[in-house]
Symmetry: C2
Subunit: 444 residues, 2 copies
């Protein structure tokens, strides 16, 4: 009997746990899940005889280590900054590790040690990063295999709300970590390449510089630049490609309105607002609007948005002009106050379903002709537990876990899923779960 | 014989050292100066029999401590982050300490310990902070003494270039630490109060929201918000004042042009540019301009500045369109690249003189009438050693040092110069050195 150790049983672990439990009997596995939330553990394991709940702090290396020692493989669903510590334990104990997070430079530095330990540390094996790499590499490898030359690679992904549950003018609800949504784009500038020119987009302009994407049956989306794309040129084996861009999708006019928060400074997280516990939403907004004697907060905002009535209404819809009660957070940063306001307005209601949208736009040249491939995936959630996010993040990890347990993956070291030996079987099995890319090709 | 220990003999220490050496014989003092730059030490002490050079790293607490033990007073001209460590030594050894820097929260936390040790740790006793507090408090105390009620306090200061040396269209040269100039305004948002409304200005809008100041014989200046002003309401004893604002002065159109760098992200310091060692100024600029196929860098910038020809020419003047040689910095942040370009263009030349401008605009009500006091100080540098910066930063510290050595200051603990017992004698002696505020009063 082989043990699988899963660290963290949060929102996006539902589908992962179900997939593994469904196969535990046949494959003779035991699934050990560590979390500090007892109710969450019970709910997800649901009394399954092959699922064992462990109620302790998975960040505690001392307590965690004996469980890793007993495992055949470890899956870390902990916050990304903790993966490196888990990886060091896995190297010491010669256990394979899976994470759905971006490879940090500290993680990358463990490659030789992982090779020496004879283990695989497979990262970026969720949705974004994860399915994005695998689906892109399948197209890239196919084009290269036919002798085509890659000219442009653009890829977009967004975690949104399904059309049937889309009933606010932002066309957005929190379907994942609200704090990450509010802070999105802060940190190092996004970086990409366009027609061989190096391009940086810092936070000030991030939500102003948008690509528009149309998807059949789903309408219009807008994408803003996502992180540093340049490293993917070598990861994807497309070092000479003139254009490479990765973006995050929202529904219009989300980005245009969010840019107002950015410009006003209301998403800042590095200082605390004086007397934040007393501020109403109206006072909070007013603290960031330029002073104009005798002018109402509404009129100051209208002026700030160049009298754009549609954008103005988005701010009205989240109650930013309300003055009857304080937001109620002490020693809070602007980002924390804003998140608190939005969590009330962008909350998922009973029956709400989320939606994942992924799009690749790939141009290449072959026999003096230029072609564009558009490939898109739209996934709507099944219910509140098996959300689109839980399915698209959890299934690739779960399938990769199964493949490692059954000896189908031979790669070692610190890596991500860009080789055909990994992505082909995973993408094929994802299709069986209904995660199917819709692809069109045209000459341009 | 009493010892004075000065840590750091950089640019702004020239006047400070001269003032103290001039009085060492009469007062029976010895001045010990610690620096790692031997040439700098020799030049500033100039063989004076009462000046002793110590060539070691003043940040090394082990080496430094015996010298503090021998001193009557310590003056720290080290970078601001090191003052707290020096202060801890001074508390342990019961020695007074002077610094020209803002009181950090760590420094403030040492107040009780300093009181218990029976010492004075006097901070913010340079120019800005320093002369600004003292000259403001003199006016505030005078108004209060006559029964006036403070209604508005606005204060501005700038380190600039003297009119005779002002020969570039930015009307700016580096008269102090260039890195601090490039990073100015980053960090926590500036905060102030206007007609009882709390106001925050984050970096994105800092150089857009400007006050205009006219000074007789010197023309027009523009001020942008400087740090968090609210703490000065209690420091100055004006807790109920409806308007309080502190700003930094530049000549127009400096701020408008600098705002373009801010908006483009070219002052960012938290990430490194890919292949920065190969980038020419033109490529560096182009990396931050939105992509437009077939459009020249000049035309893209012109479009970004809404075809403002004057602003465009400022960028031309610093060679940003040049393409013949790389800037030449490896692993550099945008801020580092920009600083490197500007250090060449904004360098002080032989004979160039700097200039300090300080302005207070104070409104108060008395007998149902409202008055405004405008008080301004303009100081031009004498020569390359005794610059306006060295004089205005060094003299207040030097005078405070003399007053402590001669028993004229009785205050203890961690403080800044806002009591009349400290500011009156210092401001009076500054006037003897020609640092005289020009004050006008009008009914409004």
């Amino acid at each position: 009997m082989k043990n699988i150790l899963l660290l963290g049983a949060g929102l996006s672990a539902s589908t992962l746990i179900k997939y593994l439990l469904d196969r535990c009997e046949a494959e003779d596995w035991m699934l050990h899940v560590v979390d500090q939330n007892s109710a969450q553990l019970q709910q997800k394991l649901n009394g399954h005889p092959r699922g064992i709940a462990h109620l302790f702090d998975a960040l505690d290396s001392q307590v965690r280590r004996p469980y890793i020692a007993q495992a055949h493989i470890v899956i870390s669903m902990l916050p990304a900054i903790h993966h490196v510590e888990v990886a060091k334990d896995c190297i010491a104990l010669q256990k394979n590790l899976l994470t759905p997070s971006y490879i940090s430079s500290e993680m990358r530095a463990l490659h030789q040690e992982a090779l020496a330990a004879g283990i695989l540390i497979l990262n970026e094996i969720g949705l974004d990063p994860g399915i994005d790499h695998m689906s892109a590499m399948r197209i890239i490898d196919r084009i290269k295999g036919k002798g085509g030359v890659l000219k442009s690679f653009k890829s977009f992904c967004g975690g949104l709300i399904a059309p049937a549950s889309d009933n606010n003018p932002w066309h957005y609800k929190f379907t994942w970590n609200p704090r990450n949504v509010v802070l999105a784009g802060q940190g190092p500038a996004a970086c990409y390449r366009e027609m061989n020119e190096l391009k940086y987009v810092t936070y000030q302009r991030l939500f102003q510089q948008l690509d528009t994407i149309e998807i059949e049956n789903y309408g219009t989306f807008q994408g803003y630049a996502n992180r540093d794309t340049l490293s993917y040129m070598s990861t994807y084996g497309i070092e000479d490609i003139p254009t490479i861009f990765r973006g995050t999708l929202r529904r219009p006019p989300f980005c245009e309105a969010w840019n107002v928060f950015v410009q006003l400074g209301m998403t800042e997280d590095h200082f605390q607002i004086h007397g934040s516990e007393k501020l109403t939403p109206r006072q909070f907004l007013n603290a960031f609007l330029p002073f104009q004697e005798g002018v109402s907060v509404e009129d100051k905002l209208l002026l700030f948005v160049a009298k754009n009535q549609q954008i103005f209404e988005l701010f009205e819809a989240i109650g930013l002009f309300e003055d009857h009660a304080p937001i109620g957070l002490s020693n809070a940063s602007p980002a924390q106050l804003l998140q608190h306001i939005l969590m009330d307005k962008w909350r998922l209601h009973q029956g709400d379903k989320d939606m994942i949208v992924m799009v690749h736009q790939i141009q290449y040249q072959q026999d003096s002709k230029r072609y564009q491939i558009d490939s898109s995936l739209v996934v709507e959630g099944q219910d509140e537990r098996y959300t689109a996010m839980a399915n698209t993040v959890g299934l690739p990890i779960a399938i990769a876990c199964k493949m490692i347990m059954t000896g189908q993956i031979h790669e070692k070291g610190v890596t991500l899923p860009v080789s055909a030996a990994i992505y082909e079987p995973i993408l094929n099995e994802l299709e069986a779960f209904g995660l199917i890319f819709n692809e069109t090709k045209k000459q341009i």
